[in-house]
Subunit: 370 residues, 2 copies
């Protein structure tokens, strides 16, 4: 396996604010050779996630910072080309925490084999069956612990995680209210996903009041992806003994100043709130159970999921920055080394995969769970 060259996005400076070409650049490097236990993967899909911004900084977090001079870390899905690990052979598909690069060399112990069923696109394992779907699933159910009849509020509700959180909340018999940044997004989560209400935080004169109006019985679970002012507003609307699932804080990821916690922090005491930090990786052993459940909901048309797939490794950075402009529509994935798959009946389109399911089935579910 000689002479393979590898294009890789390399971090060569810690970004301040939005990431630019001054911080990361696409370089071509010779591919190394495999050590025992390692696997060579030709990546097909790269995951574009807000968390990557956190890993680029040098503040302490749940994973080490990406070292300068190293590839930008991301989850990827690809095909095994060569394996020095007993669990993998050429042709297998595997998911792992690799990087924005054509090829990855990884320890087989750190890879998860995946096997799409007929009609399932490979990249589902980077989205609805991957960190995104399982973050919504475990974050809401294990940390939010929603009870039927309760109100679940979610920020970045048209985002990959948030859109699923609201739908799972509905399936569990809760009122689901989403906060999003455009009228189109608000319409989408209510009309297509079945949220009970949506709030456009960009046009609300007073976000607290808007939440109170949409959550007349108060908020029992707040699933937070954004932090900042939205978290501050949500804190003022929580019921006693409410739960906050602290899943992300995208509003602060590009800040060049230290970002304080919420100004309404005291409300956590005053309302005896439980706030829990959540990392999906802690639930690794239970991924199969969650994938089976999400797969069933998808098959039954009970959840709708949206991916936005962009072609070309060279577009990783542009695509990444869409996240911070709120300009993406669903889970962002970059496709490389792979033609679009003709997956049966999933309405796959080249630039945007809208896995919308029968609206009637969803509507029926809504009636049942209202």
């Amino acid at each position: 396996m000689a002479e393979l060259h590898n294009r890789r996005w390399i971090l060569h400076r810690r970004p301040e604010g939005l990431v630019t070409l001054a911080d990361i650049e696409l370089r071509e490097e010779p591919l190394g050779t495999l050590k025992p236990g390692e696997v060579l993967i030709r990546n097909h899909y790269l995951s574009i996630d807000p968390a990557i911004r956190d890993w680029m900084s040098d503040r302490p977090s749940y994973l080490p910072s990406i070292p300068l001079g190293e590839v930008v870390r991301s989850t990827s899905l690809g095909e095994v080309i060569e394996s020095h690990h007993p669990a993998f052979k050429a042709g297998d598909l595997a998911v792992g925490v690799n990087g924005w690069e054509d090829y990855s060399i990884a320890s087989g112990d750190q890879l998860m084999p995946v096997q799409p069923l007929a009609g399932e696109a490979e990249q589902y394992f980077l989205s609805i069956y991957g960190a995104v779907g399982l973050t919504a699933y475990f974050g809401l159910l294990e940390k939010g612990r929603p009870q039927p009849g309760e109100t679940v509020l979610v920020s970045a509700a048209a985002g990959a995680v948030g859109s699923l959180v609201g739908q799972i909340a509905r399936l569990k018999g809760c009122r689901a209210v989403g906060i999003a940044g455009s009228e189109e997004k608000c319409r989408w989560i209510v009309d297509e996903l079945g949220f009970d209400a949506a709030i456009n935080y960009r046009t609300s004169a007073n976000l607290q009041d808007a939440i109170r109006e949409s959550c007349p019985d108060g908020v029992d679970v707040y699933f937070d992806n954004v932090g900042g002012e939205v978290l501050d507003a949500a804190l003022m609307t929580l019921n006693k003994n409410a739960r906050i699932v602290f899943c992300g804080a995208i509003s602060g990821y590009n800040s060049q100043q230290p970002v304080p916690g919420p100004y309404n922090f005291w409300q956590i005491l005053a309302r005896t709130v439980t706030l829990e930090g959540f990392l999906v990786s802690d639930y690794f052993a239970r991924f199969p159970e969650a994938i089976a459940q999400v797969r069933q909901w998808l098959a039954e048309g009970k959840i709708v999921f949206r991916e936005q797939v962009v072609d070309g490794l060279e577009h990783c950075l542009d695509t990444f920055n869409l996240l911070f402009e709120g300009a993406n529509n669903g889970k962002l994935i970059v496709r490389i080394n792979s033609l679009p798959q003709a997956s049966g009946g999933s309405g796959l389109r080249r630039d945007q995969l809208n896995h919308a399911t029968a609206a009637s089935a969803l509507a029926a579910t809504q009636e049942e769970t209202r």
Copy 2:
């Protein structure tokens, strides 16, 4: 019961910063008459607590703000003088959320009858058998959920609540580390109370480093009474899945600016921490169980508790401000209408009640639980 006059501390302005005589003043008012269901109490002891500062402000909290023109709210213990409630008769002792005043008129439904055992001072029911002791007990055990061998860090560790938290942590087989504001306090919690280590936050060059040194295995439970910079430092030392008991935030109570949450708020996600707001009043139904346990520990010499009793209603304000200077030594109580009690063998002194117990018994316990 006519012609009784009542001296009362009245809130007539919302304080900015430290409370002064421009905010509250001692007035003499005629005592009202009892309605059905009400009880007239001659107060013996008034509780002086940081939380009262919160109630004086108009920010939303777990109790309504004290209305302007009303008595400063506090827990008090007194003797029933007249009762229009079937559960109380003249001569009974009762605790309730009343005010800094000679006499209180309260609904009997809102009062708790108390009965000191032989040798127990009345004011125990405002301290170790009251909100202070039960806050330490339920806060640590129910919210902190300490496991044997874990490390429990507590701020304001020489304070009324903190000093008990560390001792209960030791009784549960944990390493107990306290943060306090003077060398004397640090010596006291280690030498007299049996904490494993103490940190003087005023003289530590780097509080994070000091915590790491005293907590070589990291912190599993952080019991927070102060918020602010101490909370920020503690956040950087937490183990994965640590618990924070959010019991108070005295560092911010006198602030005239909005007080942000901790700058290291992100660590709650990165370390998958659970932060829980705690109010002892939520455990009202379980007070008897806790009092029985604390009473037993006290009888067995397993815990040491310190009260600072000041005589005279006119000293409520000075005494209250000691809290914010860190100048008190133990639970602050103002005594009125009552002579010091000759409680058997508890080493009662006029200005400071030091319920120290046999050091040898404590040392034995330490050995057992180390």
